[in-house]
């Protein structure tokens, strides 16, 4: 379809940092900071106690940082980055949550995602779901193929 709307200027809708997105980014930022600080602390002081759990903590921290930054940025590429980060987060919280319940030997130490984020009032579990809803509602228009 040869319509001209794609040439009529920038689409202001291709951002995710306004309205509810601001709250989402703020909560992600809090988790990015706390997860980074916690993982850094765990790795620096007691890494040998549970290397796997603490590496997971660090991984979770990276995911939160990427999600925070990408949600705050406009454009299609950052949308994709956000989508990947939020999906990884969702898979992570489900897999780690399940493993921490079924295999407490491998996961004896707390991470952000242990027991589906119970230590953080299950916010780590709710956050990616809200994130996906928000990304869906603010998805970029399909490219004119």
């Amino acid at each position: 379809m040869a319509d001209t709307s794609e040439h009529t200027g920038k689409r202001p809708a291709d951002t995710r940092n306004t309205g509810p997105g601001r709250l989402l980014i703020a909560v992600y930022a809090i988790f990015a900071i706390s997860a980074t600080a916690r993982a850094g602390y765990q790795i620096l002081t007691k890494f040998s106690e549970a290397p796997l759990a603490y590496l997971l903590s660090a991984f979770a921290a990276v995911v939160y940082v990427v999600a925070t930054v990408s949600l705050a940025k406009a454009g299609r590429t950052w949308f994709k980055v956000s989508l990947v980060a939020v999906l990884v987060e969702l898979v992570g919280v489900i897999v780690v949550g399940a493993l921490s319940l079924f295999d407490p030997v491998q996961f004896p130490h707390e991470t952000v995602w242990s027991a589906f984020g119970r230590g953080y009032a299950f916010v780590p579990f709710i956050l990616p779901i809200l994130g996906l809803i928000w990304l869906y509602r603010r998805r970029p228009a399909a490219p004119a193929a």
Binding site: G19, R22, L23, A26, I30
Partner: protein, 117 residues
């Protein structure tokens, strides 16, 4: 849990309630919500000054000292960051951002108490 925690618990919860209510009422951040967050900052500053005085007086932090100060420093930055972020976009959603400060501060204060004792 000491008095500092209970001060932040009270001020933090009150601030969160005020900000959530303002958000639900579709108000943009106003003097009341921003001042409630400022009150959280003030409570944290009281905690900071009190803690410095206690350390100088010879009290010992049971946990890692730098972890305690790290939490406190981060907590002190949160209200400032949230207010700045809420001024950039004056919509009801910014009130929910402000609301996040109170609960976060109280969780962090609880953790700081655990480290101290």
């Amino acid at each position: 849990m000491d008095a500092y925690f209970y001060i932040i618990l009270g001020v933090g919860l009150l601030s969160t309630l005020i900000c959530v209510a303002a958000g639900i009422m579709k108000k943009a951040p106003n003097d009341i919500t921003i001042l409630s967050v400022a009150a959280v900052e003030l409570a944290l500053l009281v905690y900071l000054v009190g803690s410095i005085v206690r350390v100088i007086a010879g009290e010992h932090i049971a946990g890692e000292a730098w972890e305690f100060w790290g939490y406190l420093a981060t907590a002190l930055l949160l209200p400032v960051a949230a207010v700045y972020w809420s001024i950039l976009e004056r919509t009801r959603w910014s009130n929910f951002v402000l609301a996040a400060v109170g609960v976060t501060a109280l969780v962090m204060a609880a953790r700081m108490n655990q480290i101290w004792y």
